[in-house]
């Protein structure tokens, strides 16, 4: 039943978007990428606009710090949606957008980190080091940022080739850890109301759960065919 539903969705969606077996879409991927790029810049634009028009409330620095972090987490989750969406819709072309989305997660995480370093701590390195060591939620955030670095660094085609597909894939499983740690980081900083972080945790659980189920099904079908 589920399989049938899946395949019918796949048939429908891939017919709608993909014309030929070569996988070329009726709208150029490049065009879509430009559009997506601009969409991904929207949260940044909204923050900058908000800063200059005074729409960020009484504590704008806190607002932009919180928002950039939130968008980093959101883009991580959006990036992790790509693979399950491919399974669901059969549009393999979606993978062409994954790198950009992942890099936007890195971008917003970097903005978040810089705002913390610059506007929260004013680059007082001893204080920052003290914070990283002593405050678990800062520790998690920091580890998180460091873990994002190799992912961003190996995102180019060149690096992909250099590492080889298998090892590259292995390395990029780190993104699951980063997404989990980002949720933990969020959960740890709220005072009493955990509803918001829990929403993100549930979404992440679904995204990771989909992968587990897929793994399990693949293993089972390979067992059966053997």
């Amino acid at each position: 039943m589920v399989t049938k539903l899946l395949s019918s969705i796949q048939a429908w969606t891939s017919n709608a978007i993909t014309n030929s077996r070569t996988g070329d879409s009726w709208i150029g991927i490049t065009h879509l990428k430009v559009v997506l790029f601009l969409i991904c810049l929207y949260p940044l634009a909204a923050m900058v606009w908000g800063l200059f028009t005074g729409q960020l409330g009484a504590n704008p620095i806190e607002a932009v710090t919180r928002n950039s972090g939130l968008w980093g987490l959101r883009f991580l989750l959006i990036t992790l949606c790509i693979t399950p969406l491919r399974w669901l819709t059969g549009i393999n072309q979606l993978i062409r957008f994954r790198r950009m989305l992942g890099l936007f997660a890195f971008f917003y995480a970097t903005v978040h980190m810089l705002l913390y370093l610059g506007l929260d701590q004013f680059f007082d390195w001893s204080e920052i080091w003290h914070d990283i060591i002593k405050r678990p939620f800062i520790t998690v955030g920091f580890i998180n940022f460091v873990a994002l670095l190799p992912l961003a660094f190996t995102s180019t085609n060149k690096m992909m080739k250099r590492l080889g597909g298998r090892r590259w894939k292995q390395l990029h499983k780190l993104s699951y850890f980063v997404a989990m740690a980002a949720c933990v980081h969020y959960l740890m900083l709220v005072k009493a109301d955990i509803r918001q972080p829990v929403i993100y945790i549930v979404i992440l659980a679904i995204l990771l759960g989909a992968r587990l189920i897929n793994n399990y099904r693949q293993r089972r079908s390979s067992l059966i065919s053997n």
Partner: protein
């Protein structure tokens, strides 16, 4: 004879848009645009029309007031922690616009270990006291601060009238519990109603006031209308809002935040740059409206007045 010729651009009276409608339309457009542009961002609340607020006349000034730059009214009334209306900073200003419901009388019960307990209508409660302006620093446990010109009177003056007896070692305060008016109370974010407490000497201290207004006007819902506590040397959450009960007790009260997380929020919760919150440092604070952070002062700068209350106490243990 006056002949009034109707011109092409003359509108009949009924077609002229009423000012209020016109204004609402503006407001609507503004809201839509703001949401459109800033849907990625937290919303900023619209306060209840300020010109509708009661203005207090002839307020006495106080030697306890600071001459530091006051935090703008706009910030004081839109950046609030009042979980009874939601946990986002702008939530109280968005959802407390009708609070407190004027059709329900506000009564405050004073009871416990005292000789003259009673239930007072709000007006009767504050009538005996001369209102003063007290410009105090306010330091939130989250690391930000404001300077707020409160209107109020010393809590001690009220407490003395109730004649506490020798068993009255502490004073316990309770916020209204009314999920209909306070949507935040529909979820168990904290144990409702919100409860706070002071030691009797802290409560009697001349710096401790009950506030009924700020910036010379009556309090808005988001700031704890109609009557709230202000204890300027303690973190902001000790200054309980919208009080309905004041009780003299023998044992130390368990505050809402103590029940939520005792290791992070102690009974005293004096502003202390040397005792960190377990999750963040308390050494510095961001004064709302300022870019750079400032050093947090011991007892929020009120050490000369209150340090003696704590002589001999280990403030790291009694945080």
């Amino acid at each position: 004879m006056l002949i009034k010729r109707k011109r092409a651009w003359d509108l009949p009276q009924k077609e002229v848009t009423e000012y209020q409608v016109y204004k609402n339309r503006r407001q609507f457009l503004n809201t839509v645009l703001t949401l459109g542009v800033a849907s990625a961002l937290p919303r900023v609340g619209l306060a209840k029309p300020v010109d509708e607020l009661e203005v207090y006349q002839d307020l006495q000034s106080s030697p306890f007031s600071t001459d530091e730059k006051k935090t703008p009214f706009e910030s004081v009334t839109t950046y609030n922690n009042f979980y009874e209306f939601g946990t986002a900073k702008e939530a109280p200003s968005l959802y407390a616009t009708e609070f407190p419901d004027e059709s329900k009388p506000w009564r405050v019960k004073i009871d416990g270990e005292c000789d003259k307990p009673g239930v007072y209508e709000y007006d009767d409660l504050i009538k005996p006291f001369t209102l003063e302006e007290r410009i105090y620093r306010m330091r939130c446990v989250e690391g930000w601060s404001m300077v707020i010109p409160w209107v109020g009177f010393p809590l001690g003056d009220l407490l003395k009238r109730a004649q506490p007896n020798s068993k009255a070692k502490f004073v316990e305060f309770t916020t209204l519990y009314d999920p209909e008016q306070m949507p935040g109370q529909r979820r168990a974010v904290l144990e409702w109603p919100y409860v706070e407490g002071l030691r009797i000497d802290e409560a009697m201290h001349p710096l401790t006031i009950l506030s009924v207004g700020l910036y010379g006007k009556e309090l808005l819902g988001q700031n704890g209308a109609p009557i709230r506590l202000v204890v300027p040397w303690k973190y902001g959450f000790k200054s309980i809002k919208s009080i309905v009960r004041i009780r003299f007790v023998e044992d130390m009260p368990q505050s809402a935040w103590m029940k939520a997380n005792l290791s992070e929020y102690g009974f005293y919760s004096n502003v202390n740059p040397n005792v960190d919150h377990p999750r963040w440092s308390q050494r510095k604070e961001r004064r709302i409206g300022e870019f750079l952070k400032r050093e947090t002062l011991m007892f929020n700068g009120y050490g000369d007045e209150v340090a003696e209350l704590y002589t001999g106490m280990d403030l790291k243990r009694h945080y």
